[in-house]
């Protein structure tokens, strides 16, 4: 084992993994984190805590992770290149490891244009591939990006993201390969609604043998309303929501749409589980954490394994 990560133990044991997601509040309210963490505990093997997702100011990921950890989760600290240069990123890597965090997810970050401070200066000193490599060198070579050596290295299980639905399609598996080469231990994908396209991407991934180098968790998420489905289909960059998904939600009475959204997500979980090389799911029930326990149970993924960390 490279780290004390619970997720690493689950994946190494070849158990189909479940990670969740927790969005910190747009305020200094710690109770929001505690409430969400209590719901997720026992239902996920690790839990992403977003880092200013959609470029909206929220409580910092590492701080919210510390609160979530106190509640018994094994948090995955998200870290984007949008707001911090290589100096700040490395300081945070040292800090989260010292606080007892076991996992980090390396992202480029949503562009500042989409958030509530669109006039901010984006940093992008590094990109996500370079961030993965930097954290890996800190952990395995005890080296800072500049080459200087440190005394105590950060033991972090390193994750990255990939979007099988973005263009150019033929390049997406190559890019995954770069992240694997850079040192990613696990990958969480963009939310899968188009299972056929995801399966096609996984075929390219297997052709390159990448599923043996890095653990791949398929992103899944329940949809609450027809409006939300339409919004994701047309307004969220990099999302692929087939017409059939919208039609399925439209086909049930209004008061049953959210239930149907959960059923649809469970169907997708069962489908991606059958695809060779998929090591788990990353379940993103943003601002709908209450749905997670019943979904994980209905998908037959309980109880979650317990490892002493």
């Amino acid at each position: 084992m490279k780290t004390k990560s619970n997720l690493e133990r689950v994946l190494e044991s070849k158990i189909f993994a479940v990670t969740g997601e927790l969005g910190p509040p747009q305020s200094a309210d710690a109770d929001v984190i505690r409430r969400k963490a209590k719901i997720l505990k026992g239902h996920v093997d690790g839990c992403n805590v977003t880092d200013g997702q959609t470029a909206v100011v929220r409580m910092s990921s590492w701080a919210a992770c510390l609160i979530a950890k106190e509640e018994g989760l094994d948090p995955i600290v998200q870290m984007t290149c949008r707001d911090r240069n290589r100096i700040a990123l490395q300081m945070d890597v040292l800090g989260i490891a010292a606080l007892g965090m076991n996992n980090v997810l390396c992202l480029t970050g949503d562009h500042q244009k989409f958030g509530n401070h669109p006039t901010a200066k984006g940093v992008y000193d590094l990109d996500s591939v370079q961030l993965v490599k930097m954290v890996k060198d800190m952990r395995d070579e005890k080296k800072f990006q500049c080459g200087e050596v440190m005394a105590v290295e950060p033991h972090l299980f390193i994750g990255a993201a990939e979007n099988p639905f973005a263009d150019p399609l033929e390049f997406r598996a190559v890019r995954l390969g770069k992240k694997a080469t850079a040192g990613a231990d696990f990958i969480q994908t963009q939310i899968v609604y188009n299972v056929d396209k995801f399966a096609e991407w996984m075929r390219m991934v297997r052709d390159k043998g990448l599923h043996e180098k890095v653990k791949i968790l398929a992103g899944v998420a329940p949809i609450k309303s027809v409006g939300a489905a339409r919004y994701m289909k047309t307004r969220v960059p990099g999302m692929d929501v087939p017409d059939g998904v919208v039609a399925r939600l439209q086909g049930v009475p209004k008061e049953q749409v959210s239930k149907e959204g959960i059923k649809l997500c469970i169907d997708i979980i069962n489908q991606v589980r059958e695809i060779e090389g998929v090591a788990g799911i990353h379940l993103m029930a943003i601002e709908w954490e209450e749905a997670v326990p019943e979904m994980v149970e209905a998908a037959g993924l309980l109880p979650r394994p317990k490892f002493v960390t």
């Binding site: 000193d125 990109d127 190559v174 960059p237």
Partner: protein
């Protein structure tokens, strides 16, 4: 006016490693003015590369390399020499390198770093082509610049927001990484994108404040 200086020879040789036959292009505009890629420097580079065992299939110094139409016209007389080359070394600022990448279907190597626009800007009115970052990366990106033309300056792109050839930030912005992939696919050189490009040296860029060392050689 774009101010540039030649990259160290070792860097240029590393770029051209594996290429036996090379065609060299300079420019009589800014690059000649700054002594980075005029008649004299192109001739010097030719003999330097020959000493290093390279075959120079030909060379030309274009009047205004940032003008795509003019460049296309002037390069017509060198069709044979360019066809015989494995790659093209361009001794100008980033705008010139990108013109060559646009009008010639060959791998281009940037021979210079672009330091400053010197108060003006080169001939691409519809879009920014060169941010004068001082550490040219066009070698790794098929001769199209992600520093000037990708919203996140990605060196190992594209990000997850590239769809239908457009940038997620605005449907009016082409995704330069889609263009990079398309261009290298056309050349049969997608392998160039498999290498990890490391963190960039921003200390030589104007965005890091007054660049103390930038003009040491000019």
């Amino acid at each position: 006016m774009l101010i540039s200086e030649q990259k160290p020879l070792e860097e240029i040789l590393a770029y051209a490693d594996g290429d036996k036959n090379i065609f060299i292009i300079g420019c009589k505009g800014c690059a000649e003015g700054w002594g980075s890629g005029g008649e004299k420097q192109v001739a010097e580079m030719k003999s330097t590369l020959q000493e290093k065992g390279k075959v120079i299939t030909g060379s030309v110094v274009i009047d205004m390399l940032c003008d795509a139409a003019l460049t296309k016209l002037q390069l017509r007389s060198y069709k044979k020499e360019i066809a015989a080359a494995d790659s093209i070394l361009v001794l100008t600022d980033g705008a010139g390198v990108q013109t060559v990448a646009e009008v010639v279907n060959k791998v281009v190597h940037p021979g210079c770093n672009t330091l400053s626009s010197g108060g003006g800007h080169a001939e691409w009115k519809e879009s920014e082509r060169c941010l004068e970052c001082g550490d040219c990366v066009l070698e790794f990106t098929g001769g199209l610049c992600p520093i000037a033309r990708c919203s996140k300056h990605l060196l190992n792109g594209p990000c997850g927001g590239s769809q239908g050839g457009k940038c997620e930030v605005d449907p009016g912005i082409p995704c330069v990484w889609q263009q990079i992939v398309d261009h290298l696919a056309k050349l049969g050189r997608l392998d160039k994108l498999e290498r990890l490009v490391g963190p960039k040296n921003w200390s030589v860029s104007l965005t890091s404040g007054p660049p103390v060392k930038r003009f040491s050689q000019t």
